[in-house]
Amino acid sequence: MSIVFSSRISRRTVLMTAATAAGALVVGARFTSQSQGAFPTDNLKTPSQLTAWVRIASDNSVTLLASQSEMGQGTTTTLAAALAHELFLPLERVALEFAPFDPAYRDPVYQWMFTGNSQGTSSFYDVMRRAGAAAREMLVAVAADRLGAGIDRLDVRNGTIVHRGSGRSLTFGQLAADAARVPVPASPRLRRDELRGRRIERWDIPSKVDGSAVFGIDVRLPGMLVAAVRSSPRRGGRLARFDAVRIKQQPGVVEVVELSDGLAVVGNTYWQVHRALSEAQLEWHNSGSTLNVGDAVPTAYTENAADDAFLTHKAVGETDAATAIKLQAEYWSPFQAHATMEPMNCTADVTSKRADIWVPTQGVELAQAVVGQLTGLPSDKITVHRTLLGGGFGRRLLADFVKQAVMVSMRLERPVKLIWSREEDMTHDFYRPGMLHRIAGAVNREGRVLSLEHHVVSPSHLLYVFPRTQFSDLKDWTVSAKPPQEVDIMAVEGLLDIPYDIPHQVVRQRFVDLDIPVSVWRTTGHGPNNFGLECFIDELAHAAGHDPLTFRVSMLSKNPRAQKLLGLVAEKIRWGAPVPDGNGRGIALAGAFGGLIACAADVSVKGNSVKLNRIVSVVDCGRTLDPRIAESNILGGIVWGLSAMRTQITFRDGVPEQANFDAFDPLHLWETPPCEVYFVDGDEKLGGTGELGPVPVPAAVCNAIFVASGKRVRSLPLSNVGFGFA
């Protein structure tokens, strides 16, 4: 069984299943890992990046085995282009195959195979260049031998190696088998990087305009059944009673399978099993979460606020703020659902001998581990086949739905595609946790901020996604596991290294435990943290009677990159130009995901209605590789950030209160203002653009609302303070 993608890169079909062609050159290149994140790597397995990245077969095909998943962020196009460039190949000649799990494909920073944290390109760009260059040098070595010519007399072009003197040539395919026996060069010579600023058409887009793109929900296997699933409405609750006989009498139903906290109904078509499950009268034990979260800050965040409950992440400098203006404010960012357009799904085919799953996932390694945990099969008998992802946003790092599909397929001994309804998806998410910020600051009359103290109350975002190799005794890979607190800094990211020069800074966090699962969500800690930080900086500016733009710039004397962004965003939003009553402009700055971004919003407020007139973002992501892909990430990010000002998930007695897009209402086209995105191209380390765009949006908009209305928004969603988007 194989599923084919139609692919612009290949113009042939790209097989999802790895089948190494005979006589293929499979380039392995050893790359050393560098620890650069917050994660300790010394107690991890020694990195074994002996990696098969590129396969060149005797039929001249060149295949990139992609570590990264494609969810519309464009990473796989850029990475394939980097490889093709080193091989002097047009991108159309490179096929793309999503690699199955192998330690070789682990992200070099976290030593974990996943797609996320906006680091797909920064982690793998140079890896791809070196893999391509290594393959090229191996092919050239064999060609030199066969043609009896020095390598300086050989040209590589379009899949062929040509002897400049005689014109004799050999194709990659003719060279591949012998090249496979050449030692992999340790440090191949890279070509000049010519991809910067180049606009490349994404390989996946043609298949996304004609319906041929294969997402997880589209997978079809011979003899496959379809499963619908219902888990306890109250998170963590258990199923008490159900009438299996009656459910199985419904048309199309083949079997019911009890899961750890719910029921799967399995049958011939989704609609039949969905209907049977909807009509089944399931009774639930009175167990599970009792969390209550309404519009107000939940008590779990406000109780136990004693000073010694806080972990100090940062405390620097001293302040003499006796004569300064002092401010204190509390900011709240609510719980959020990922609400990917494609609901969670997984297709599993498990036998006693092997397990295959087809899944839209960001978390290949976790999925692989979960299948191993459930089946007891060794890793080489398990293959995680990846499809395209209908949205990820962090949700698809997890494998709770993989677990269900595998359990059902094991029970039925048949291939099963398990699909969540939208309601199941929204009410069984691993939510972005609500985050509470208490911020205190002091500013003098000259507009100099003397002190900034953050107290953050938040659960860990990493309970389910922290690289699981860290927990050697973990039996169930889908349960939560607390990382060491000192490296668990996602809840304070963006606060520890703010761009501003402020002499006295304190950042402290209290970890709150909740009985509903929470995890990472596009922007993770950066979003809520920037909302609190940049609104509060604005509050200080207004309190001291200074212009919020010049107030910020005056604290950036040591950060010329940030100054430049603010200068440009101010120019583009026409900062300082007169505005009519009820209008206002706001600005915010963020450093996140290895990049810097300044955002400005122009709004009109009439009564309770906020009209978004214009949003401008200026980005410095180190170097801009593909400006059109980068722009699409930032444009989409602005919409994500605006949606996050309106949506929220609330809980009543452990039950999420929003179950579909009628109650959880992301931004629509008609509410999306004209947006402008500019890139300030430096020559710095590559940053990520996937999650950068949304980070400063809520603060920029709320700062504009303040100017327009005099009302300071300190709690989201906007409806908490009576506002809504026009």
């Binding site: 929900i217 395209l388 699909i419 939208r422 994500w640 008609w670």
Partner: protein
């Protein structure tokens, strides 16, 4: 047994009459370009044409589709040559792409009715949800398709 006309072809499907057209297209006819997103006609991922009009197929029982001409994304053109598809590629609109079949069908129906839509026409007609947030390029591509 229900007779349908899908993408210009007469087909017979064996499905319960209350089965939403969406699931008949996806499962019985294997036309998986039409997507399930919400099941309550809120998101538009399942948009198809019924007699040229945009319809959210998750909320139309297959029995009601009988006797009407149904067009799915697979039937919009044979070779991505519909002006909306061409504009979508030229403007590199899709990100994850899951909602885009429905978007494109909604836009194609709009352009049938209003060949040169204003921004206000677009605002009123295109109410599908895109969680990746591709709206700005959608608007640009609609204008481009209209001015081809």
């Amino acid at each position: 047994m229900i007779d349908l006309n899908v993408n210009g072809r007469d087909v017979v499907v064996e499905a319960d009459p209350d089965t939403p057209l969406l699931w008949v297209l996806r499962e019985h006819l294997e036309l998986t370009g039409t997507k399930y997103g919400c099941g309550i006609a809120m998101c538009g991922a399942c948009t198809v044409h019924v007699d040229g009009h945009a319809v959210r197929s998750c909320s139309m029982p297959v029995s009601e589709a009988r006797g009407h001409a149904i067009t799915t994304i697979e039937g919009l053109s044979q070779d991505r040559s519909h002006p909306v598809q061409k504009a979508w590629i030229a403007h590199q609109v899709p990100q994850c792409g899951y909602c885009q079949s429905g978007m494109i069908m909604a836009v194609a129906a709009l352009l049938n009715e209003v060949p040169k839509p204003s921004d206000a026409d677009i605002d009123n007609a295109i109410t599908n949800i895109c969680r990746c947030g591709t709206y700005q390029r959608i608007r640009e591509a609609i204008h481009a398709a209209a001015n081809r």
